[in-house]
């Protein structure tokens, strides 16, 4: 386990505001920004993409960790397939206004997914449903709930928690929890 973490058997919910509730017939997922071509999928189109089962430990910056969590969804590599990125960073943007930023290298090469199922059932709104980003090698605030798209950026653009006291990258094995918090 990463330093400073403890195991939990339940699944805590942490958010900054009310839970967004996005009807599937209005849902879409986009890739845009500094890319050779943008992409957009409706819910039906997204569900038709090649899918994977993912089983990983997850680590929250508030010190809880959960082992062997099981998800299914679409690899970000699949979503970016054939697209030429013109920048080295992405910003995940979400219903409700949440954003988080990551290096492109942290969401490619089999490290990240957009998941819509948890433990074999549709992802509940409280846990980010209809779909969330899953980036288990970083603190779980990077696994943006209610995700609706990834915008490729040339410059690293701090997202919501990164602007509110948390580390820019969030590697749990280096305990990269916090940024400048005292304002």
């Amino acid at each position: 386990m990463p330093p400073g973490q403890h195991l939990v058997n339940d699944f805590p919910v942490l958010t900054f505001g009310p839970t967004p509730r996005s009807p599937l017939d209005q849902w879409s997922f986009s890739i845009d920004g500094a890319v050779s071509e943008g992409r957009r999928w409706t819910w039906q189109e997204f569900r038709s993409l090649p899918r994977e089962h993912i089983r990983r430990d997850i680590h929250c910056v508030t010190t809880w960790s959960k082992l062997d969590t099981q998800w299914s969804g679409v690899s970000v590599d699949t979503l970016l397939d054939g697209i030429e990125p013109g920048g080295a960073f992405v910003t995940a943007w979400c219903d409700g206004g949440y954003t988080t930023n990551l290096p492109l290298a942290d969401v490619t090469g089999g490290k990240a997914w957009v998941v819509d199922e948890y433990e074999g059932a549709s992802l509940a709104p409280e846990h980010g449903g209809p779909a969330r980003l899953l980036v288990p090698h970083l603190y779980f605030w990077k696994s943006a709930k209610w995700v609706r798209g990834l915008t490729v950026t040339v410059v690293d653009e701090p997202g919501f928690w990164e602007q509110n006291g948390y580390h820019d990258r969030g590697d749990p094995w280096k305990e990269e929890r916090y940024g400048a918090t005292f304002r």
Binding site: V13, P18, T19, N164, A180, F182
Partner: protein, 244 residues
């Protein structure tokens, strides 16, 4: 010159300098922390305990004290299956050592001068960060800030800071709306309703509403606030504990 980024990462040695019971299940610890530079109401700290054999456990707790008081106080409620809270509530005494990291958090915060009334909705121990905000408003703003606190607890005896809150309410420094649920199964952590939310919001245009408690409580409070017409972006939430 101190580096705020390094400061946020540092563990600082701390000692308990005062301890008092709040309810049968909760206690407040006042801490002296090496190099502490203060906090903003609503922020939290990481608390790390080290056992004699070197085993360490870390948890987060909201700061209960007002920044202007100059004190750092945590109110901890005992979780029956908790690893750290039973120690902090039942065993920790004046002179005991621990490590503190923080203060942490930049969204669920309130400072004197922030616009609008101070609207607070708490369930159970979710009242702790809200109390820091209310105390700061009273200490720094006098009658200038309209402080309204809607709090739900299982029983009257579970209300943290009851006598302080009632005194502030009687002195018209805050408006206290307190509700209890008597659900015998204990399955729900509080029963606020549209009428109470309406009283909380009466006659004001909310700029921020702070809701804190278990995730079930915060979901219910958010839904009621949204139904009352509060924009989603105005509602700031902090949740403790497991899903539902």
């Amino acid at each position: 010159m101190s580096d705020p980024v390094a400061a946020a990462h540092d563990w600082r040695p701390a000692r308990v300098v005062e301890r008092r019971d709040e309810t049968p299940r909760a206690a407040t610890l006042r801490l002296a922390v090496d190099g502490w530079r203060g906090h903003v109401a609503g922020q939290r700290v990481d608390v790390r305990l080290t056992a004699d054999d070197g085993y360490q456990a870390t948890r987060q707790y909201s700061i209960a004290s007002a920044p202007s008081s100059g004190a750092l106080e945590l109110t901890v409620e005992r979780l029956d299956d908790g690893e750290v809270s039973p120690y902090l509530v039942d065993v920790a005494e004046v002179g005991d050592a621990m490590d503190i990291r923080g203060p942490i958090g930049g969204w669920f915060t309130w400072r004197p001068g922030d616009p609008g009334p101070l609207l607070l909705v708490g369930g159970g121990s979710g009242i702790v960060p809200l109390m820091a905000m209310a105390r700061e408003a009273v200490l720094s703003g006098g009658d200038a800030v309209d402080v309204r606190l809607l709090v739900s607890t299982r029983t009257p005896a579970d209300l943290l800071y009851a006598s302080e809150l009632e005194a502030l309410h009687d002195a018209r420094r805050i408006t206290l709306l307190h509700t209890v649920t008597r659900d015998p199964t204990g399955a729900r952590s509080g029963r606020i309703d549209a009428q109470l939310v309406g009283e909380l919001l009466r006659g004001v245009a909310p700029e921020a509403v702070f809701a804190c408690g278990s995730t079930g409580f915060v979901e219910a409070a958010s839904d009621l606030l949204l139904a009352a017409g509060v924009p989603a972006g105005v509602i700031r939430t902090e949740r403790f504990g497991p899903s539902a």
